[in-house]
Amino acid sequence: MRGPAEQHLEFLPLKATWLHILLALAEGAGHGYAIRAAVEERTAGAVRLWPATLYGALRDMTADGLLEERAAAPAPGDDARRRYYELTGLGRGVLEAEVRRLERIVAAARATEALARP
């Protein structure tokens, strides 16, 4: 049997698309277009998730248990025609594991004098 931590490690290093989607959903459920808009806003337009890539990733992430689909719109005012996705426990764990991994890399980089912050 594998422990949950090992299960998280199975997914590392995480594809950039997946990381951005997990980040976008970390604050709460959202639909495809909202995820796309959130990612674009956070990265100031540097990362654009084109629709087919986005939905392909959402499907695969759901199949792998990182996301789950919510049957109904979570709140009034949401678009009822759209499917909403939210993080599962596994999804949140994978996100945290990936962020920790990145932190270690950043820390290692900082420790290098040439790259230290001014």
Partner: protein, 905 residues
């Protein structure tokens, strides 16, 4: 406007979404289109129509990529084991490689389990790839790669032509080169090159060495510097002599021990002191010339403008194109009459005078270009046939594995997964074939360079190098992928249809069609090769049937070089003395000397002459002839028949004599009416003496069997002027014993008379004859081997297919026999099937051979490319072999045991 753009964009995107597999579209199609509509509108607001177009393009690409990924992933619900990592993860370093290795290991195991199949495929491929790579290496080194000088494509070769004088290539004279040096602006440097041979003393052994007289500008034209010492500089050159020398690297090593102190030393060339000032770098050659020395020369304006035959090269000035240089030199021809009154404008016009500027490389490889491309095409054809054979083997194997594929499909292996397992096997086979091929190519190229066909320029540069290896790798992968893909469509369908049709009876028609096409293609390729080699064979027969005009059995030819010092009288006396003593040797019937050995185009002189009884105007073009210096006994020794007059006796070869001999061609061209024996001719300029024609002898193929008979004048060597050099002569010895057995005695005789005289090549006339047709022999050998291999592979392929078909149809044949069909009828039916394939292949092959063999026109001798005899024989041979290949399995079909056939399954 933007509304229309948006509607258009949505329609385009909607269409592109259809590329996606159904299951993806049904889940997400609506959302994709809705998202795209918002996205496009957003882009439109910000950047107008351009924004919409850009967004649409990106979004369509995104869909197309997704569609590809989705389809390749196959049925996403069923995944087989180790093939993939969790989808969200980037591949870890080495992971993909490990998966590949795993597949390859599996493939290697599968192949090792069938050593017969594997060995046959690898060897077939190896031979095909090896031959192709070897010839590629040659073609690459000789035809494709630039010459080994900086910016070598700017080095050009200048030549003059006078078709009206029957002189297609005059090269240059000192006069023309001075003209271009002074006036041509297209060149940054102009150099004159002249070859000559000298007796070298001052090194360990006296030797005859070849030297190139080059102007100091030669180093600027080629952009090359000596390795040791220095180059020649302006003003150091001497016209017609030698004062300073630079050694080629090879001569420095072999003759001077490769020591650096050689610079500054003095050597003797024909008794003249020459100082060594430098050594050229290793690997440097000029036009594949085997010269051992460079001598400083200069362009000499005092020399006769009309004496041509010197090589002229130049480097194009920066920014000047070849065509511009050509145009400038063409204009400069108008200046020639100002510089030499003999070459008047009228004369130049009558002569059809012209100049050409060509890249040096193109000039160098012109003679072998056709032959090399033919050979490369030939081996490529053999490779194709080999591939067709292996592909057929692969198809058979794939059929045998249909059950396995079906089971893997049923267990959920995706299309790509099945494809990959086939591909890894075929690619592995291809690579193994490539490895064998590389070994074959390396050995082949080594053998070729060692054999060293003299006609092949730049041979020293030929090697299986990185480029050739890359070609080998490319061919292996290409072949491997092809074999893997051929059976694939069928296999994938089997995987999709799972076990539904595991017996594999349906679809066999399609399979047969592919196998049959492969066989027809093989027959077609074999026909092209057989035709090519048949044409060469017929052409070679014609060539061998040509009367050389001289005796070739029991004749020894040996080069003896007295050298230029002492003058022609001393040289003639020396050769006469040698001949007298050689004639007295046991086993020698007769002996003579000539400066130009028949059948080999070396040492021959040519020029214009006058006939006393036919004076001509100044503007009339003089007739030209070739001439050779010969000793008494020359015609008897070489068996040249006397047609009229008398033979050349000892009294004619004395300085006071005045008789020359001509051949029948000379009479045909110049004295068609009247009695040649009453005529006097003048060789060379107006001051030359008038000589009487004392005899007419039979025609000799002076330049080689394949060359036209030229008009000849034979001048006794004692009468030669400076225009006919006799410093290097060929002794020809007619023997009553095997000719090579008298060689030691002849050598000893020459050494006794004059120890310092070097002897050069010794050959029998039969060897000389063989060398004169070496080109044709080489192409014929290559094409012949290729054709035999092609025929063999084609026959094996046909046999294999028919045998397989018979095995497949055992049941059907059994039924036919049981219903009373006569065995002979069954036999005929099977043979007919094979022959039908061969006929179809032959027709395709004929259609391909007709245009292809026309490319051979340049290498054929007296045989038209469309030679009905060759074509007829080839088709008959091919059909006969095909019938035989089909007949063997057909016999088995006719002997099918009805009971066994029907009770099986």
């Amino acid at each position: 406007m933007s509304g229309a753009a948006l509607r258009g964009a949505r329609r385009v995107y909607g269409l592109s979404v259809r590329l996606l597999p159904e299951r993806f579209r049904s889940s997400f199609g609506a959302e994709l289109e809705a998202d795209f509509a918002e996205l496009a509108a957003h882009s439109g607001e910000r950047r107008g129509v351009a924004g919409v177009v850009g967004a649409t393009l990106r979004a369509v690409l995104d869909v197309a990529w997704r569609a590809l990924v989705e389809r390749l992933q196959g049925n996403g619900d069923v995944m087989t084991g180790r093939w993939r990592s969790p989808r969200g993860r980037r591949a870890r370093p080495g992971e993909v490689a490990m998966q590949w290795l795993g597949e390859l290991r599996q493939a290697a195991r599968t192949l090792a389990a069938r050593p017969g199949f594997t060995l046959a495929s690898v060897l077939t491929l190896g031979l095909g790839i090896g031959a192709t790579v070897a010839i590629f290496a040659v073609v690459d080194a000789v035809l494709i790669r630039p010459l080994p000088y900086p910016e070598s494509d700017r080095v050009v070769h200048i030549r003059h032509h006078a078709p009206g004088l029957n002189l297609s290539n005059l090269e240059n004279s000192h006069g023309t080169m001075a003209l271009y040096r002074d006036l041509a602006r297209s060149f940054s440097a102009v150099a004159l090159v002249e070859g000559n041979s000298y007796n070298l003393t001052g090194s360990e052994v006296p030797a005859r060495v070849r030297a190139l007289h080059v102007t100091p500008s030669w180093f600027d034209v080629l952009g090359t510097q000596p390795l040791l010492g220095r180059r020649f500089v302006e003003g150091e050159g001497v016209a017609g002599g030698a004062r300073l020398a630079i050694l080629m690297h090879g001569a420095w090593r072999t003759r001077f021990g490769g020591t650096a102190d050689v610079v500054g030393r003095t050597i003797e060339l024909d008794g003249q002191a020459v100082e060594i000032v430098g050594v050229m770098p290793e690997g440097f050659t000029y036009n594949s010339d085997d010269a051992e020395l460079l001598l400083a020369a200069e362009i000499d304006r005092t020399q006769d403008f009309g004496t041509f035959g010197r090589q002229g090269i130049a480097r194009l000035a920066p920014g000047v194109e070849l065509a511009a240089a050509q145009a400038e030199l063409a204009r400069l021809q108008a200046v020639i009459p100002e510089r030499d009154s003999d070459l008047s404008a009228e004369f130049l016009k009558n002569a059809g005078w012209s100049v050409t500027v060509e890249r040096l490389r193109d000039v160098l490889v012109r003679d072998v270009r056709t032959a090399l491309w033919i050979v490369l095409g030939t081996v490529a054809f053999v490779l194709l046939i080999a591939c067709a054979n292996v592909a057929n083997l692969f198809l058979v194997r794939a059929e045998g594995r249909q059950r396995e594929t079906a089971i893997r499909g049923a267990l959920g292996a995706s299309g790509p997964r099945v494809a990959w397992s086939f591909l890894s096997e075929s690619v592995l086979l291809g690579l193994a074939g490539g490895a064998v091929g590389t070994a074959v190519a390396t050995l082949g190229v080594r053998a070729l360079v060692a054999a060293g066909p003299a006609e092949l320029p730049r041979l020293e540069e030929v090697a299986v190098d990185a480029r050739a290896l890359l070609v080998a790798l490319g061919l292996s992968l290409l072949a491997g992928i092809l074999f893997g893909l051929l059976p694939l469509p069928r296999q994938l369908r089997t995987a999709a249809g799972a076990l539904r049709e595991a017996r594999g009876d349906t679809g066999s028609r399609e399979r047969h069609r592919m196998r049959h096409s492969l066989i027809a293609a093989q027959v077609a390729l074999a026909l092209v090769l057989l035709t090519g080699s048949g044409l060469m064979l017929r052409s070679f027969q014609r060539l061998r049937a040509v009367e050389p005009g001289v005796r070739t059995e029991n004749v020894l030819a040996l080069g003896v070089s007295y050298g230029a010092q002492g003058g022609p009288e001393a040289a003639a006396r020396f050769y006469q003395q040698v001949l007298e003593q050689v004639r007295a040797l046991p086993g020698v019937r007769s002996a003579a000397a000539t400066n130009s050995l028949p059948l080999s185009p070396s040492g021959i002189n040519g020029g214009s002459f006058s006939i006393e009884s036919r004076p001509r105007d100044d503007d009339e073009i003089p007739p030209v002839t070739m001439y050779a210096a010969v000793s008494a006994g020359f015609f008897e020794t070489l068996g040249v028949p006397l047609r009229s007059g008398r033979l050349l006796g000892p009294a004619d070869d004395t300085p006071g004599a005045n008789a020359v001999w001509v051949n029948e061609q000379f009479v045909r061209l110049n004295l068609p009416d009247g009695d040649p024996l009453r005529e006097r001719i003048q060789l060379g300029g107006d001051e030359a003496p008038w000589r009487e024609i004392a005899g007419v002898v039979g025609d000799v193929r002076t330049f080689g069997l394949a060359e036209e008979v030229s008009s000849m004048v034979y001048v006794p060597m004692s009468l030669t002027q400076s225009s006919i050099g006799i410093d290097l002569m060929q002794l020809v010895v007619h023997t009553s014993v095997p000719p090579s057995s008298v060689l030691p005695a002849v050598r000893a005789t020459v050494g006794r008379i004059e120890g310092r005289v070097p002897l050069t090549t010794a050959r029998t006339m039969e060897q000389v004859l063989a060398e004169s047709i070496a080109d044709a022999s080489f192409i014929m050998a290559v094409l012949g081997i290729a054709a035999v291999v092609a025929l063999l592979l084609g026959a094996i392929g046909l046999y294999g297919v028919i045998a397989y078909v018979v095995a497949q149809r055992t049941r059907e044949i059994g039924v036919r026999l049981a219903l009373g069909a006569p065995p002979a009828g069954v036999h005929r039916m099977v043979v007919r099937q094979g022959v039908t394939l061969a006929v179809i292949g032959s027709l395709i092959g004929l259609a391909a051979a007709l245009p292809l063999t026309r490319l051979m026109r340049g290498v054929l001798f007296e045989i038209p490319p469309f030679d009905p005899v060759t074509y007829g024989v080839v088709v008959i041979v091919l059909l006969a072999v095909s019938a035989l290949a089909a007949w063997l399995p057909a016999r088995r079909a006719a002997r099918v045991d009805v009971v066994v056939a029907l009770s099986a399954e």
